[in-house]
Symmetry: C2
Subunit: 574 residues, 2 copies
DNA sequence: TTGTTGGCAATCCGCCGACAA
DNA sequence: TTGTCGGCGGATTGCCAACAA
């Protein structure tokens, strides 16, 4: 028998700059090392396909250990959507090689290569529609673009040539003019917008490569069914629409051509390719898989060590965990926090012993992750394994506990370990199951904020606003996401989620350090409303003497209709 | 084991009007009947792929009998390129069913369904570039479009709504104006051109369906490597370029987006899909194949009866044959004529006993088919099995015989029959090999045309021009292509090819009956030059009293530099 | 600091008859 | 009969400062 993939290697090349690829894909995407060991999940691959995948009655292992012996960073020609092509070779029993599989640990860890400086902006109406201009945020112009010569010509202009993911070059006129002065891209911009079929809400990304080259990437707004939650995480599942029907056409060109973009048609793979891959995988033949990082289904290839580590945790209901997310402009990161309600296989008939999504969960902010009821254990981090007792008895939104608190049971533990034999050759079983638990202690606590107009920083560490109990999560030092590298003595408001449930819009407040400064940060407010995403930032706010940044943030907070019944939770990051 | 194709049936539908599909594909394409028996040729499938296909060392039969149990007429979303998807099920020995496989015989036979009226025009510069208008040939306007009301408004206008292959509707303003009056498409036309990315040289096709609906199809000009031979036949092979390199982009939008069109990138299938199909075929599993009629490689699925019939012919060198072709605007059809030089397998190592392209040939007009050295026997029709003795000894272009005349040998005959066992259950072997020979007698003969300025019709039946020997081929009655249904008493000049070898351009003269008239015909002159194709027609020329049509044709003939050293061959069709 | 607006100039689009082949 | 050209009028594009948030 000949291998079906033997002829592919010479057909296509790793076709673009991998740094730009990563910038476009977002920092959430996990790309395994070449030659490392991963588990391939047919079940997850099927989730990544258009439509349902029918495997028939053949029994298929829920996960298949593979070696990664090919990684290609790709981008679709028409849409610029990035994807990765992995070549996987199923491992036989004696191929297991635990030595080379050093466990990096949690997700979202810093890559060895340092990230080039980049800036992402979501296009406004004016950027996308009118006059062919793009309003360049000052930060982007000053950190990404080559330095403008402000002295010789008035107004200062320069030509910027930016490479896209295909290596194609785009020319923009960058001018600093107007009253008050601002940075604009004029000539060349509308050409770019038209070619890329960008609309308001899409994002563009400028990146300055190590060699000084400017790159430009795009990320299309996800036209989610429910109208626009703009967060990205790796546990999501989009609703499946039927195959798109073509409605007979008209003159609406831009929208017509966007049909392929951002909807379920693209960013997904064909059902047959899944079946073909699974076919190879179960027969021990090498195969290729394609993964679209922005398709909102979790990776179906997972670093073996991460799976093993996750499976050694005694998952049980009541456990508190956090899962990383990032906002669509890849600027702000944070954690979703939730609680395990039960531990069970999602499809006992088709996949009777699969760990895929076997954590049934509820979220502290349930409206953002309405569709996500079950997650993969390797995607989350245990925060507390003490059952989450009802600690906000007076909050109207949580009048009663959301789930019954189940006691730890050995049944559950046994089940977890018997799900499949993925412990490798090492000492598997119940004995070894305890040693990898995360050493985090319970850090949830109740705080009270005073009622009115306090200076923002110190008072929000604890207290009550309008008599709402506010629970805070303290995360320490090295477990905080890399964007926040403040000294531990700096107190930052981070990842605050305040939502008004009745109006279905939310604000996320977050903070980020500026450059290498340990005393300056940027405060962000992101409104997630049904109309889309609007974000404002307060840059260069001084933290220690947080006079204006803090107060501005505080004003925003006041305006955001923060009333008793609207506050769910505030999180403080130390 | 689960079938890899089980999940495909519900993914896509037969997605467009099959008559429009056929009009776009051209009449050369062969679509087998549903449930009929075909031979699948892995070798031909590999020719249809991008790049080389490496089957490894596995032995693969050169042809695999299959039943056609699915036909889908498709069109690419972006390019409108038509293709067909066939689902084939390999037949086991006892599945052979010779009963249902009635032999229709030669290629190019009339389909049972009558063809709707259609008109194809190759876009001029003015059609494609300037002013957004399309100059409608009168014939098209009067036979395809709804009748214009010339009485009420001046100028007469109408709105034409035409469906494309996707079912999308396009609106055109059709106006009859100007001095002199002509038919034009104005509003809506440039929108169509831009959406479809048409350029001068591409063709558009208007079709009037049975229910009166207007359809519009497109056929992109083939940007052949050698610059523009505009003929289509089923034996061609495009040169393989390497994967297209992207040269860094610029503002040339239209050309950029056309990269995918008409070059080798499109109209071909992926190498892996070939391997996958072959894999299924050799293992007896159903599989799907995709064939692009306009990719210029022959069909790799061939009606079983056609293959069997072809293999029962005693092919030998010296045999004269003809092969059908049509011009790219699907208006004129004709035959290439050639001679078999040898009969041998093309790749004795990989495909030691394959009949694929096992006829090595030379063409009477070699410059048009430079790349085609070997053809499939089922694509040609024997004209004469008497070796083609050197009958034009004085023509300067053929100073010596092009090939040695080999004698009939039983070796060759034995070889032919031993190529593979495809004779079904019927009496195979040498005995049965003779009964299906075509009953054509040798009809090549030498004629002499007088030297100067003769009236065209009767004198060209025989004679010499400038002392050039002209050999003529007479084909009789029912073997002529359907477009020519003249009474046998009418003598028509048909398929005349006159080329000036030094200038690398050629003229094809052909004649076609007008409508149902048996006394009117259209004479066509097509210039095939390196700049592309230019064609002129003389319509409504009366044949019997061929006063103006004939003389016009004769003037063209005179102007075409028809000198001794330029004339290769003239063919007359009776 | 940056999103939106309206003014405006320059360009382009596309309809037209006049030719000519 | 139909391909190409130049004229032209109207629509669109896109640069800009003035505001406002």
């Amino acid at each position: 028998m000949f291998g079906a993939m033997d002829s592919m290697d010479r057909v296509s090349e790793i076709c673009l700059d991998s740094q730009l690829w990563h910038a476009c894909a977002g920092s959430m995407v996990q790309i395994p090392q070449l030659n490392s060991e991963v588990f391939y999940f047919p079940q997850g691959h099927a989730e990544h396909a258009i439509g349902k995948v029918d495997f028939g009655n053949t029994p298929i292992p829920p996960l298949i250990p593979c070696r990664v012996n090919g990684i290609k960073f790709m981008a679709e020609f028409d849409t610029d959507e990035v994807y990765v092509k992995l070549r996987l070779t199923p491992l036989r029993e004696n191929d297991f090689d635990l030595e080379d599989d050093y466990c990096i640990g949690i997700r979202g860890v810093v890559e060895s290569k340092e990230k080039p400086v980049s800036f992402t902006k979501t296009l406004t109406q004016s950027d996308a529609n009118n006059g062919g201009g793009f309003s360049v945020p000052r930060y982007c112009a000053e950190t990404i673009f080559p330095e403008l010569d402000y002295s010789t010509v008035e107004p200062p202009v320069q030509t910027i040539i930016a490479r896209d993911v295909h290596g194609q070059r785009w020319k923009f006129r960058h001018i600093y003019r107007g009253t008050p002065k601002r940075h604009l891209l004029t000539t060349g911009w509308s050409n770019f917008v038209n070619h890329k079929k960008l609309v308001a809400g899409d994002s563009v990304l400028f990146l300055r490569a190590e060699n000084g080259d400017i790159c430009v990437g795009i990320r299309r707004a996800k036209k989610g069914i429910g109208g626009g939650s703009e967060l990205s995480s790796s546990c999501w599942n989009t609703n499946q629409l039927g195959p798109l029907l073509f409605d007979g056409g008209n003159e609406n060109n831009k929208m017509l051509n966007r049909r392929k973009v951002g909807e379920n048609l693209m960013g997904k793979v064909a059902a047959e390719s899944v079946i073909e891959a699974v076919n190879c995988a179960v027969n021990g033949r090498p195969f290729e898989v394609v993964y679209y990082p922005r398709a909102n289904t979790p990776e179906f290839y997972v670093k073996a060590s991460a799976v093993r580590a996750a499976m050694q945790i005694q998952w049980c209901s009541g456990m508190r965990f956090k899962m990383p997310f990032e906002t669509e402009d890849s600027y702000r990161k944070g954690w979703f926090i939730g609680t395990v309600t039960s531990v069970q296989v999602v499809d006992p008939i088709r996949w009777p012993s699969s760990p895929w999504r076997f954590l049934q969960v509820v979220w502290d902010e349930p409206h953002l992750l309405q569709n996500v009821k079950c997650v993969n254990p390797w995607l989350v981090e245990v925060v507390s394994n003490i059952p989450n007792f009802h600690f906000s008895p007076f909050s109207p939104t949580s009048k009663k506990p959301r789930f019954p608190i189940s006691s730890f049971s050995n049944n559950l533990l046994n089940h977890t370990n018997s799900v499949c034999n993925i412990q490798g050759n090492s000492s598997a079983g119940i004995q070894g199951a305890r040693h990898a638990q995360y050493g985090l202690s319970r850090s949830n606590f109740l705080v009270n904020t005073p009622q009115h107009h306090r200076p923002p920083w110190d008072t929000y560490k604890s207290g009550t606003k309008n008599n709402v109990d506010i629970s805070c999560l303290l995360t320490v030092g090295n477990t905080a996401p890399e964007a926040i590298k403040l000294k531990s003595s700096h107190i930052l408001l981070f990842g605050q989620l305040i939502h008004t449930e009745q109006e279905h819009n939310s604000n996320i407040f977050s903070a980020e350090r500026n450059g290498n400064s340990s005393t300056e940060a940027t405060l962000h407010k992101t409104s997630i409303a049904s109309e889309g995403l609007a974000s404002t930032s307060l840059q260069n706010s001084h933290i220690e003497n947080s006079s204006d940044g803090g107060s501005q943030w505080y004003k925003d907070l006041q305006k955001s209709d923060l009333r008793t019944e609207n506050v769910n939770r505030l999180c403080l990051a130390l």
